[in-house]
Symmetry: C2
Amino acid sequence: MTPTGHDEAQQPLDARVVRTRSDVLRAALDVLIDEGRDAVTHQRLAQVAGYSRVTLYKHWPTRADLLRDAFGGLRDAHHHTPTGDVRTDLIEELTAFRTAIERRRIDRALAALAELAASHPDMAEVRDDVVSGGERVLRGLLAPRLHGSKLEAATLMLSGAILNAAMMHGRPPADEVIAAAVDIVLDAAG
Amino acid sequence: MTPTGHDEAQQPLDARVVRTRSDVLRAALDVLIDEGRDAVTHQRLAQVAGYSRVTLYKHWPTRADLLRDAFGGLRDAHHHTPTGDVRTDLIEELTAFRTAIERRRIDRALAALAELAASHPDMAEVRDDVVSGGERVLRGLLAPRLHGSKLEAATLMLSGAILNAAMMHGRPPADEVIAAAVDIVLDAAG
């Protein structure tokens, strides 16, 4: 239980550390999405983020550390803040997921994460974390209306419809398909 | 319009060609799923399938030809033959998809196909082919009951739920979750 000593003199250093980490991890997610996971190396990220390799190795001693934190950036995806109208809220939340796919191609990062997680237990933890964070708003909206297997199924179906369209059909769903998916689930919620 | 000459003498040759192709493509799909798409090379497949590299190059002059036909093997996935009870038929069809994921890990091949298709237009054609074949039974069961955006949404949601569970949650859905997904869609179909 040593005091962590957040005195005035240390704050600029902390701020610098925070900024370095955030610069590098933002670059890491970009590289991951645009160039694939093989490109996520200390060398490439030092180049893209504009820091020395020594600095990167200090923060992330191994490539696994780097990959884990890069994928962790998916947790910061934008979510809709519920307003109280469940139909609107569900549509807005799914639309926010679609927007993240359209603007940032996070479907690619998710596919890469799924692939890695299948063979690396520590990446499976990252995946579970990212997914449970990604589903939190959706699940919160559905939980008062559906229970047990129906809640499970509805959550998988709604986010699955967006993923399926983006990944397997090559285009995220149109507005009216998102609305139809929400109506199907709300019909069942009675 | 040259006659193709299927005389008796040629049949054994044709049969041999068919067998070679089918042996190699089965091996290709296995290698793709177990070792990743980078492992799908003439050299590796010659080794695994037990043919010479020369033979493989004769059938598939480029690596792109090989990859295209390897992914094409996903078209042969097992489907349920509808019996007339729509609830049972939908559950059985989704369960067949889950079984293919559990036994053959076709989710990995689908993720790799999605990734490749995003940057290679000819692989996008293969993906579209595989996906429309994969959805045919499901769509056929839903089409008499749902239309337009609702049909689109329901198809994306049902196959998406299986994909989402397998890829992003690391486990295909349980029987009761599949049944709940089908009931949600059938409720909406009235």
